[in-house]
Symmetry: C2
Subunit: 202 residues, 2 copies
Amino acid sequence: MPGQLFIVAAPSGAGKTTLVSLLIGNDPGIHVSISTTTRTPRPGEENGREYHFVDVQNFREMVHRNEFVEWAEVHGNYYGTSLQWIKMEMDAGRDVLLEIDWQGAQQVRKSFPEAVSVFVMPPSLEALGERLSGRGTDSVETILRRIGAARDEMRHADEFDYVIINDELSRALDDLQSIVNASRLKYTIQCQRHAALFAALL
Amino acid sequence: MPGQLFIVAAPSGAGKTTLVSLLIGNDPGIHVSISTTTRTPRPGEENGREYHFVDVQNFREMVHRNEFVEWAEVHGNYYGTSLQWIKMEMDAGRDVLLEIDWQGAQQVRKSFPEAVSVFVMPPSLEALGERLSGRGTDSVETILRRIGAARDEMRHADEFDYVIINDELSRALDDLQSIVNASRLKYTIQCQRHAALFAALL
């Protein structure tokens, strides 16, 4: 029984990462893809846990061998998602979740048109501004630039199947879990999970 | 904000009616359509609660005026679902649920292609046989005929978006609620519910 592919995207500050880690804690059936990156590991990061760390030369070779279902350059570093890992997990019947941005989602849909995609949004631009300021580490200029970038990102919400408004975290988690649960009840999935029942009808 | 239309179908004995009444008790946002019928009211049934009871002449006039989104003759009685009532509820932003069979579902999809349809199934034909025997009111012949009819009905499961296997009632209820919840998170629905947020992005 093949697993399903879930894509979760969000503008910075929408709380995507927290939401996804809570989902993973709740639902052992979902496996999150670990990206490959050329960025330098930060203190505490471990190779194979947060990221697969590779050098630029290696990354470029992987791109040329079409090993990534999507990849991008962000702030001078490369990030990519392994196509083989996704296929392996799905073939083993496991559901896979990718945390990527809208450009990545566009690339992934070309390889996996059946992927279930979810866009997480803040309740308002004001709330997003407050959350980004709340970190207390960035200048006003940086925050305004991020709000602008978030707004641009959110204009792509219409490319996603589902939208979750992350106003209250526990509610947003219920929403995400509902989407995952419902996706597992699709006719094509159930037909494979309950093959004996469906065979008995023929 | 327009509501959504949910269709729930099942073979006899799959537990659809119990499941739907539990959902309604859980979720005040869902309104179940009350069918119009020419069948004689049973003791305890009230006009406008279980059914709208009308005579055959009246029913035929309603058919000619295209007042039904779907209608059928079952065991010599007519049953129909009011198109106007569905539209009225949905326009008022309420979600509507129809308990109908696969033929009815086919008719309804012509008027409401966006309807979310769910097919409820027993875990096996054996379990269905046990449930139908469990009522203790029918002959073996009647039970076998019903199992055959249920099997024919279940061959149409592939026309539905979702399949729920009603093995354990509380689990099946969670499944149905997940489908309803997820449907309310679709981009098109969220875009209308959170109009101010989406307008702020333009």
